[in-house]
């Protein structure tokens, strides 16, 4: 009896796991397949799975349609977002992790609270402000807006990375001859680096995928998702899939690289 129930349980767990995997994987596989499918195969009603593949779609999109400029913009904006949000967020995360000060918990709550405001609320005022100060339609402008979206995550993630580094390592540094800053740069930072790298990739993906603010704040210098939204919408299907393929790459890379650090980041160690 109990063995039958055990087997049934196992079966249900597997079924659920397979369904969840399928839910995530099927769209990804579909995107990959369609992005590289020969347009003839793609439009052939008799073929569900294309057999002839080509890189023409991606090439056309990037070069002929000039989408490479949007990719470049996206890259610049994402890197600038990291460059802006980390110098601000890192010290805040460190302070939250390592020091006790009055109002610390309230401050933490406030940071999470920042995320309550929808992007639309800051999008429009930001656009008028940018036009006035000449930041409109520039990568820097978009990056500043993205940094403000990313900052709460940067603070919270880095603070949990720093909190996971045992105090003993730092105190040993103090005793064996380092100053406070020396301990940070030679002990804490190297130990935090994998986690911080994961946080940086997270911010990169966040900026890479952001559409709304990027659409409002730019006109000519569009980032990839904003440009895809406007221009590729009217293009044939294979181009849409090719665009989706380019969009999805960094996120995939992030998951593969940062998977282990993300898991340890929340205090559980999985090897």
């Amino acid at each position: 009896m109990s063995q039958a129930r055990f087997l049934l349980r196992k079966l249900l767990v597997y079924a659920a796991a397979i369904m969840i995997c399928a839910w995530i994987l099927i769209p990804i596989v579909l995107i990959f397949m369609s992005a590289f499918a020969d347009p003839h195969d793609y439009y052939d009603i008799k073929k569900v799975i294309p057999t002839n593949f080509t890189i023409e779609n991606v090439k056309d999109l990037l070069i002929t349609l000039g989408e490479w400029r949007a990719v470049l913009n996206s890259l610049v904006v994402a890197l600038l977002t990291i460059a802006i949000s980390f110098p601000i967020g890192l010290p805040a995360g460190y302070a939250l992790a390592k020091y006790f000060f009055p109002g610390r918990d309230f401050f933490r709550l406030l940071i999470i609270g920042l995320r309550m405001f929808p992007v639309m609320v800051i999008g429009i005022p930001l656009a008028t402000l940018y036009i006035r100060i000449g930041l409109s339609d520039t990568p820097v402008g978009v990056a500043i807006a993205h940094a403000s979206l990313a900052l709460p995550f940067v603070i919270l993630i880095t603070s949990s990375v720093f909190a996971s580094i045992p105090r003993d390592y730092e105190e040993a540094g103090l005793i064996f001859g380092l100053s406070g800053f020396g301990v940070f740069s030679r002990i804490t930072l190297p130990l935090a680096l994998p986690g911080l790298a994961a946080a940086a990739i997270f911010v990169f993906v966040l900026s890479w995928n952001e559409v709304f603010v990027a659409t409002i704040l730019t006109l000519m210098n569009r980032t990839l998702p904003a440009d895809v939204l406007v221009s590729v919408l009217e293009a044939p299907d294979p181009y849409k899939f090719a665009a989706a393929f380019i969009m999805i790459l960094p996120a995939m890379a992030f998951v593969f690289i940062a998977r282990r650090y993300l898991v340890t980041m929340w205090g559980i160690r999985l090897r």
Partner: protein, 362 residues
């Protein structure tokens, strides 16, 4: 080599007084053990000495230099942490060499010193590894090597053996003691384990609630506890305690009497007719035929309530009226629960404490 002197040292955390006006002088080259239950302030005292905390009151002196507000890096001290705190992002060699590199010693000297320290702790073959690839015992050796490589003025150890398994702990204990002798460095060692304290220490400072209850050689602390706390804390099984009324050279407990020796009577002069706390160690009570001849003994009849065989020893719980006396006998001793037993107390070894101040009368 350094004399460490604590003067009126006090540290508060909010309303809790962790270290309470402590005075202590640790001699040059001495192995001093701070012993006490958890939360007694021993680790805080250690942290005040290395400089990881600054006191609210009082001073810390190394020789005649006031180091109270000196940052740890300028004190030239070393510490071995309970968690070892061997940096995981550096190889063993770099861990040990680190204090020397920071102090900008020459490459030659660094190599020589690391070699010396790693040889002393027998970890020469591990220098190329990362700490994750080491066992707990090996990591501890690395931590000790790192601590001695700079010839510190004072070496501090915070429960360094508590994360090792029992066998390794005994081994490491002996080795630490030998190492300290060889180096002659002033050493302060924090532990809650009285066996470690007894075996390692030149002197033990027993702490409770932020105060030093007694400072003395291990034997002294064991044989002449100055107060009720030390008497109860040191020794396993614990000392037996019971109340008795003193009257004309006799201690009258609930269900038995003990007549004292003349020197004991004269020390108890002021306690005529008053209740005092009496203590006697389990190994100073004997069953018949095991009592030493020469001693002045008092016999009491009791019943065996409970027997704990420990192998080398057997612990008997003997009930006498309302009092249970714990008796330590050799492991081979045959005892039956429920049978009656006449026990012999060595009167010379009695301890008497003032019930109000808890200080020892003798």
């Amino acid at each position: 080599m350094t004399v460490v002197r604590l003067e009126n040292l006090t540290k508060r955390f909010g309303r809790v007084v962790a270290v309470d006006h402590c005075n202590l002088t640790i001699r040059d080259g001495e192995f001093m053990v701070l012993l006490g239950p958890s939360g007694c302030g021993k680790t805080t005292t250690l942290r005040l000495i290395v400089g990881l905390e600054t006191p609210d009151e009082g001073r810390v002196y190394f020789d005649d230099e006031d180091v109270t507000y000196l940052p740890p890096k300028d004190r030239n001290v070393s510490m071995v942490f309970q968690s070892y705190a061997v940096w995981p992002h550096m190889k063993v060699y770099d861990n040990i060499a680190f204090p020397l590199k920071i102090k900008k010693r020459s490459q030659d000297e660094i190599k020589r010193r690391v070699k010396w320290a790693s040889k002393l702790l027998r970890i020469e073959n591990l220098l190329d590894r990362y700490p994750d690839q080491l066992s707990g015992g090996q990591r501890q050796r690395v931590a000790v090597a790192r601590a001695i490589v700079i010839e510190p003025r004072v070496l501090l150890l915070d429960e360094p053996l508590s994360n090792l398994d029992a066998l390794l702990r005994v081994l490491m204990r002996a080795e630490l003691k030998k190492l300290q002798r060889e180096l002659g460095v002033t050493t302060i060692y924090v532990t809650h384990d009285q066996v470690e304290a007894m075996t390692l220490a030149d002197r033990v400072a027993v702490m409770n609630e932020g105060k030093f209850m007694q400072v003395g050689r291990p034997r002294e602390v064991y044989e002449k506890p100055e107060n009720l706390f030390v008497a109860g804390f040191i020794g396993s099984p614990r000392m037996n305690f019971f109340d008795a009324v003193f009257s004309r050279g006799v201690l009258n407990a609930e269900s038995f009497k003990l007549s004292l020796l003349p020197w004991q009577t004269s020390l108890l002069e002021g306690y005529e007719g008053r209740t005092v706390k009496v203590g006697i160690r389990p190994e100073c009570i004997y069953p018949p035929n095991l009592a030493p001849r020469a001693a002045k003994l008092e016999c009491i009849d009791g019943t065996i309530d409970f027997v704990e065989p420990l192998g080398s020893d057997t612990i008997l719980h003997v009930r006498v009226g309302d009092i249970t006396l714990v008796v330590k006998v050799p492991g081979a001793y045959e005892a039956k629960i429920g049978s009656s037993l006449r026990i012999y107390l060595d009167v010379e070894k009695l301890h008497v404490f003032d019930p109000a101040s808890e200080k020892a009368v003798f």
